[in-house]
Symmetry: C2
């Protein structure tokens, strides 16, 4: 059993949105992960036979979990979303790698809020992604990443006003090109090489892998 | 019959995503609107018994419309999405008010691209919104807007790094408060007064009305 403050521990957050078996399989939840259910996400945990170590949320839209869970509840009036609460807990417990399931589908405002939570995680020195049946959604700051070829699309969007990216191994390559929030230049690219390389030179980028 | 360059004419764009009868009803398409089908959106037009004046797109994911339509086709390799092509045509024909249907649902990269298209429209001096069954999605620049109370939520998100907003007549009011791309402070507000007032003091904000 790994300690609660192991800095290498991964945090898996289950939110109340849609969670498909495909996304759960890609997440490959492990015994040693810190598993947090955010509000109604604990119903997903039950459905998939998972036992979260922690359940956070205000339970304004789902019944609270039964006694015996390590449940933290928060007042309804707060600035944090349930997913943000869970992300804070994961950071406080030393996690620097986050996977969020159930953070998309349904309300688009929740999806955008959860993408901003990925940006918040980046600012904490952590890395996170949202997984659903058809998408991996990441926020990338300065650095270089590789993605293996897949059937589907790779899209990049500016998050903020400073985003400059390069893309190699893709159908529409870019070389130190600015992305803006008002023109979707980076949408619907395709990986043509065995691996695509994304370099963020400045700012933050939303990276979406769409699987056919 | 209004002329093609009437500056007051509204432009309704039908994209290939999901279009619900509820969204179509809220759009209230009128005879005098400039109706543009973007690629597979023309199948929606047929389904709803609408006759678009213009069909644009590369028809990479849907068969081209039958002969006799005023169809403009574009090569597949281009920087514009089908929705951007349609928005450009609307601007070129003098429209300054845009309603986009079928721009959400399915691929999240398409949804984000279409939100950025709303920002592009703002920069052209036009106003646009994406409608689906449960959401009105707007991009708002500096100015003041009112929204009547509804059952559901009102959310604001920063689009770029300069966003400063005020919110009145809502459960969590804000007074000249900055919004950032890395913290979802403005998510899940509720309108408590008969009308909410949103003021954007600087930058651009994504405004999402969610209907229960």
């Amino acid at each position: 059993m790994m300690s609660n403050t192991d800095p290498c521990r991964r945090c898996v957050i289950l939110c109340a949105g849609e969670i498909s078996p495909e996304a759960m399989e890609r997440a490959a939840v492990r015994q040693e992960d810190l598993l947090i259910a955010a509000d109604g996400g604990y119903l997903h945990a039950q459905r998939f036979g998972l036992r979260p170590q922690l359940v956070v949320g205000d339970f304004d839209s789902a019944p609270p979990p039964p006694p015996g869970s390590d449940v933290e509840t928060f007042p309804v009036e707060k600035d944090d979303t349930d997913c943000m609460l869970a992300a804070r807990e994961g950071i406080a417990r030393g996690c620097r790698e986050f996977v969020i399931l159930g953070g998309t589908g349904g309300r688009l405002d929740h999806t955008l809020a959860n993408i901003q939570t990925l940006a918040w995680l980046w600012q904490q020195g952590a890395r996170g992604k949202l997984l659903d049946r058809e998408h991996d959604i990441l926020v990338l700051g300065p650095g270089r990443w590789e993605f293996p070829r897949h059937e589907g699309y790779l899209s990049l969007f500016a998050l903020g006003d400073q985003t400059v990216v390069s893309e190699e191994g893709v159908y529409y390559p870019l070389e130190r090109h600015p992305l803006t929030c008002s023109f979707p230049l980076g949408v619907s690219n395709q990986i043509t090489a065995p691996r695509a390389s994304i370099t963020v030179h400045a700012g933050l980028a939303i990276c979406i892998l769409y699987y056919h």
